[in-house]
Symmetry: C5
Subunit: 156 residues, 5 copies
């Protein structure tokens, strides 16, 4: 039994954790979810570290930075914190951020957030349970939330 | 009994700690405040770490960066330091910054600082005492100091 | 007896440490200064850490970044390093930087550097010896080197 | 027998690890490769740290940031994480990033990614097995993926 | 006998380590050099940490970032890494970077790199062997590679 911490925020405008949990449940068995909710993305790094200390083998950090320039700075700080927490614990943190400005309207935002949360959840699943699935797709231009761009060409 | 460190600055132009303490007192019992005041926002990270070593379970870091471009850099540095201190100690630091440039005049600045300090204080309270309150509001587009933007739509 | 490390640079164009020491001496007794001089501001963080290991209870880091765009980057790196050193040691580092571009001419630069060094030295003194002095001035809009801007209004 | 961790991503559009492994195999014997694949470049730092804990003596981190402005931010965050992981473990991480925008079309991207992966793999080999090869070429203006620019002049 | 680690890169276009070693040899006795060469500036921080673990008392990190905007980002990352390594080990890292764009042509680049390497080598020597030499020149506006700008005025 592997444990995945899933941390989300009250700042986000879509319940990304719902989609992530659903995708994980569909991916296979052998996963237990440790949930946590924090106010905003800057609160994610320490929440991940705490879930690691509670036994998580990997954390999925879900966030939705706003549209303002300052929100980009906050996302940058949060990202550095997530990398720091992951390296410190030597356990993966899968960052899943959706910037409000990436979508043209609310509907598109919901769709993008759902798809990205699902695809990053599957990445988290692969990292923990099926690393060979990732190895097989190395260098193939995968994207999360948008269409994959694909490999430049089949190389060898 | 949980302990919340509240650190503020002499640089800020509003007594944000007053509003934070008042909001905490109104939120419920079982909280003891450990106060500290430092000159500016860059002094907040180490002050938080020191309060953690003195027994704080969470720190609320209150600051008010000025209007100049350089103040944004200082806020960025302070934010990274706060995240670093939180991850290192594995205890939450709730950052509550109000940029002077966010408000049109002094009155608006006072109101914004008061509201944001109160709402972040309540977040701090929830993180420590009622994590389920945060979980229930995950993905609902909450904001601190301004009106909440709300969820994109009720999702499920 | 408390020990304050004072680190300055050969890059600066004003002997800021002289003014800082003089201000400390005037502030009260019970302080011993541990001095160090390094080439530039990026050398300050490790110098502070070394002074902490030598027994300093707080470090005052004095620097004067130049006018070029690159100097701002160096100051940013130095600031992050100072915050890192402070958090790591759980002891305060009071950063006192004067950007050459803040002053119109040499005379103004000297005056600004003197005043800021003095006022940050007094902040350092308060942090170590009279924390209540800082608490009393929380949220009152203090500035170092320029006139204080004051609180938005007497709040309560 | 030395061990080199090679980490690549599913985000990249070229199988850089293939070229890196081939170059390593051609460089000499005495190297064992520990492979890992992660979703994107921000996942590289923790993957390196994990390979170090599994016995790697050096890690080669292969990534291909996209063309958007945000991808530059991600690359910056990943780079800082790689440096942090390397310093923490006191073992080298050779970063090999190819920005999609560096190449005019897919063919050029493939060629650039192949060459840079090969040349960084040889750098990794030299760092571990033949440090004197690097010492001999100090200050000679080597580049990876593009033509070397050479030394300013034979100096002494 | 003090040990100075000198790390340079194959990316640089001038053999800065040659000039640094020569300047150190001319500065006095009692210094042993521990040399290392890495591919690029981002490899410097971990190389310094490794030399510290091998017994270095100080490291001189020599690098020459290119002219492109991206090179500035790399230099920034390398600088942060050097500060991190220095603080972590509590031993000085003297950074000596020459940006290719600082010089108008190859000849000027060679001269600038030589002078800056020599002057930073002397700084390294002073830090280890004659800290009072630095203290005497505190606040006197020294520069490395260009003419000193001097103190604003003799102050006291």
């Amino acid at each position: 039994m592997k444990r995945i911490g899933i941390v989300d925020t009250t700042f986000a405008r879509v319940d990304m954790a719902y989609y992530a949990r659903r995708a994980l449940a569909g991916a296979g068995t052998g996963i237990k979810v440790l949930p946590a909710t924090v106010p905003g993305i800057k609160d994610l790094p320490v929440a991940c570290r705490r879930l690691f200390l509670d036994g998580a083998d990997l954390c999925l950090a879900l966030g939705m930075p706003g549209k303002a320039e300052y929100d980009k700075t906050c996302a940058h700080e949060a990202s550095l914190g997530l990398i720091f927490a992951a390296v410190l614990e030597a356990k993966p943190v899968v960052e899943c951020f959706v910037f409000e400005g990436e979508a043209a309207d609310d509907k598109e935002l919901e769709t993008l957030a759902r798809r990205r949360a699902e695809e990053h959840a599957l990445n988290a699943y692969s990292l923990l349970m099926r690393p060979r699935d990732l190895a097989r797709r190395a260098g193939t231009g995968l994207r999360q939330g948008f269409a994959d761009v694909g490999a430049v060409r089949p190389t060898h």
